[in-house]
């Protein structure tokens, strides 16, 4: 009788034979003593292996045990976050809301106002370093990417459909049925012609001499509207000249806007020179952000304007809230509501200007904004920025974060040294490339990566410190908690006078070094040393 081979017996022991094969093998084993002995010994061996492997000779290491401490951290984060938000609210949002309330603007224009205030906000350049701005924008992109990767499956079809509907609803009505003209360099709607629908048009020059019985959405270098638009105008251009009539609102972003026609509702404009000419008639309010705003024609309702120079030479039916540097109220100025001016200079009021009440003037100190945003504001901002960017990177590559923080960062001296070499070398390389004009683009790329690396250095350092404080993370939320705690520790350290600067440099070098070591490691892994092909292994007899 042919004996069973050992592999079959092993599969039998491991329960890996098909039922048919299993029963025939069993029958054979019962009748064949050597095979039965082989089967039994394999079974014994298996039991032995199992028992040995399952022996608990080593407990779970301390730093792998699930960590508590989440609650106190969340509580602390909430308190700090709450403080930050309340500060932000009382410094920034609340005065603005009150200001808007005074000029009778409802919440709909909140966004516009925030943007306008932001444009004028001189403190920004001091407060936000270029690096952080860069990092913020980058982090927004990365965060969107992360969302797409991790959360895509969670975005239900219905949610997606709802979002699309919401976006469509936010678009001017009837956009789907609009007349769309995007092919021509110069688009002219001749006088006498009527479009019974919305018109979406893009080109070099767009002239509307006829009638649009819907909204006009236009993007061009030069836009001239001398005809009639029954709905709103939404325009993006270098220059917009409006001499016709508009039944709805005019909303534009352009270098210059010149209105000489009539607008039945409101005008919201951002640009450099914004002018409502003497021939114009605005029945609603005028909200603007620009360098120079000139009001030559009447505005029936309120003004909310942020500009360097304001000139008002016409009737204003509502009240005015003006922010900027200079304000001139000309001979033709007639105001029926209050005029409030926050500016750098006393307003100039012509003798024959007719004002319902004197201009309420408040001097804006050059540095007032930045001193208002005190230490805590700075602190919160930089911490939050680093956290947002850090989470994006940590979530995109948990393995990378793990490798950097667990493998390279613990070698403090080695990382610091590598950081010193890499930071110096990176800068030298970038500038070396940039001074040879040929390498300029490459130099800029190197410089960008160098800056990004320096910024990321604190992220990984924060992650490492967080791990040291709270232990190894076991899931993504714990990873983020560690990141937040570590970054908090770093930012607190950085804010200590003198020591903080040393610490900043040390963290940058240490993190940059670990990042460099990781990259070198990854590169050397990807291209293993060339080795001769191994000879076929000899099976032991």
């Amino acid at each position: 009788m042919k004996h069973l081979d050992e592999l079959t017996l092993l599969r039998m022991v491991d329960g890996e034979l098909s039922s048919e094969r299993h029963s025939s093998t069993r029958t054979h084993i019962v009748d064949c003593a050597p095979c039965q002995a082989g089967y039994e010994s394999l079974k014994t061996e298996t039991e032995l292996l199992r028992a040995t492997l399952r022996e608990e000779e080593e407990p779970l290491p301390e730093d792998l045990r699930a960590q508590g401490g989440l609650l106190w951290f969340l509580a602390a984060a909430l308190v700090i976050g709450g403080l930050g938000v309340s500060q932000f609210w009382s410094w920034f949002v609340d005065p603005m809301l009150r200001g808007m309330d005074r000029v009778g603007i409802d919440g709909q224009s909140l966004f516009t106002t925030v943007v306008i205030r932001g444009l004028l906000f001189r403190g920004w350049t001091n407060m936000v370093s270029t690096v952080t701005q860069l990092a913020l924008w980058l982090s927004v992109l990365v965060a969107l990417g992360t969302l797409a990767i991790f959360a895509w499956r969670r975005i239900r079809t219905s949610a997606l459909a709802m979002s699309i509907l919401a976006v469509l609803a936010a678009l001017p009505r009837g956009a789907e049925a609009a007349v769309i003209e995007l092919e021509q360099d110069t688009y002219v709607l001749p006088a006498g012609q009527t479009i019974e629908n919305d018109l979406v048009v893009a080109g070099e020059i767009v002239r509307i001499e006829g009638t649009v019985n819907g909204d006009l959405i236009v993007a061009a270098r030069l836009v001239e509207v001398s005809g009639a638009v029954a709905g709103d105008i939404l325009g993006f251009a270098e220059e917009i000249d409006m001499t016709g009539t508009v039944g709805g609102n005019v909303r534009t972003a352009s270098r210059s806007l010149d209105i000489e026609g009539s607008v039945e509702r409101n005008v919201v404009a951002a640009g450099e020179i914004l002018r409502i000419g003497s021939g114009a008639q605005v029945r609603g309010s005028f909200t603007a952000a620009g360098r120079e705003v000139i009001l030559g024609g009447p505005v029936e309702r309120d003004l909310l304007i942020a500009a360097k120079t304001h000139r008002i030479d016409s009737r204003v039916g509502g009240s005015a809230l003006l922010v900027g540097d200079e304000l001139t109220l000309g001979d033709g100025a007639v105001t029926e509501g209050t005029v409030q001016f926050y500016g750098g200079q006393e307003p100039v009021v012509a003798p024959s200007a007719t004002l319902a009440s004197p201009v309420a003037f408040e001097l804006l100190e050059e540095d007032e904004e930045s001193t208002r945003l005190s230490w805590l504001g700075h602190f919160m901002f930089f911490w939050a920025a680093a956290f947002v960017l850090g989470s994006a990177f940590a979530l995109l590559g948990p393995g990378v974060a793990e490798a950097i923080t667990a493998v390279h960062m613990p070698h403090h001296a080695k990382s610091l040294l590598a950081g010193l070499v890499a930071v110096g070398g990176g800068a030298a390389l970038a500038f070396g490339l940039m001074i040879t004009l040929v390498g300029l683009p490459l130099g800029l790329v190197v410089l960008f990566l160098w800056v990004l690396g320096l910024y990321l250095a604190q992220v990984y350092a924060g992650l490492y410190i967080g791990r040291e404080i709270l232990g190894r993370p076991t899931d993504r939320s714990q990873l983020l908690v560690r990141l937040a705690v570590g970054l908090l520790a770093i930012h607190i350290g950085k804010s200590i006078p003198y020591i903080g600067q040393v610490l900043t440099v040390a963290v940058a070098l240490w993190g940059f070094g670990a990042l460099t070591l990781f990259l070198l490691d990854a590169i050397s892994r990807k291209s293993p040393p060339i080795v001769p092909a191994p000879l076929p292994a000899q099976e032991p007899a």
Binding site: L42, E58, T474
Partner: protein
């Protein structure tokens, strides 16, 4: 330790986004996963790193887990894939034997019962020879006899056919027997 039903309930909560539930899942299964990694990977540090990374990966992939099936085997499969990735990452290609083992040499042989028994003096010596196995064989043994994974699942993790998993296991056992005989 939570019972089976409890565990799947916790996993369902974790899938719905509960961090606390995932913490409990971790507490329940981390010791087993750590021990698997400890058996499968070369060093204690590697095993620690692997354990936390496996749970990170598992949480990310939780959406692909089929809730009607038991959770632990699914987690073991994640662990198996991760360990094999780690092993491959840490060695250059020349160092790992990831070819399919030769079947013929094994199948032709008749059973030799007296040799089939491992000459064991102590579990310590068995652990020692286990640790001396090549990475892939050690992983396969750990997956089969510690994690109770089927040949099919092991094969999927290692990228070989289920048949060859049997060959790999048998060859590993023979290597262990030879080592034990040599040292005793």
């Amino acid at each position: 330790m939570a019972g089976r039903g409890d565990l799947e309930g916790l996993v369902a909560l974790a899938r719905a986004g509960s961090t606390a539930a995932w913490g409990r899942v971790y507490e329940t299964l981390a010791p087993s996963i750590f021990r698997l990694c400890r058996r499968a990977l070369a060093s204690r540090e590697d095993a620690e790193d692997a354990t936390s990374e496996i749970f990170l990966k598992a949480r990310v992939r939780l959406a692909s887990y089929e809730p009607s099936r038991p959770f632990a085997p699914w987690l073991y499969r994640v662990a198996a894939n991760h360990c094999w990735d780690e092993i491959r990452k840490r060695r250059t290609r020349a160092e790992i034997d990831d070819a399919e083992p030769e079947l013929s040499t094994l199948e032709a042989e008749a059973p030799t019962p007296q040799e089939a028994v491992l000459a064991i003096e102590s579990r310590d010596s068995l652990r020692r020879v286990l640790s001396e196995l090549d990475d892939r064989s050690r992983l396969a043994i750990a997956l089969r006899y510690y994690a109770d994974m089927s040949y099919e699942d092991i094969g999927q993790a290692l990228g070989i056919s289920p048949n060859f998993v049997g060959v790999l296991l048998l060859r590993a056992r023979r290597a262990m027997r030879t080592r034990l005989r040599e040292t005793s």
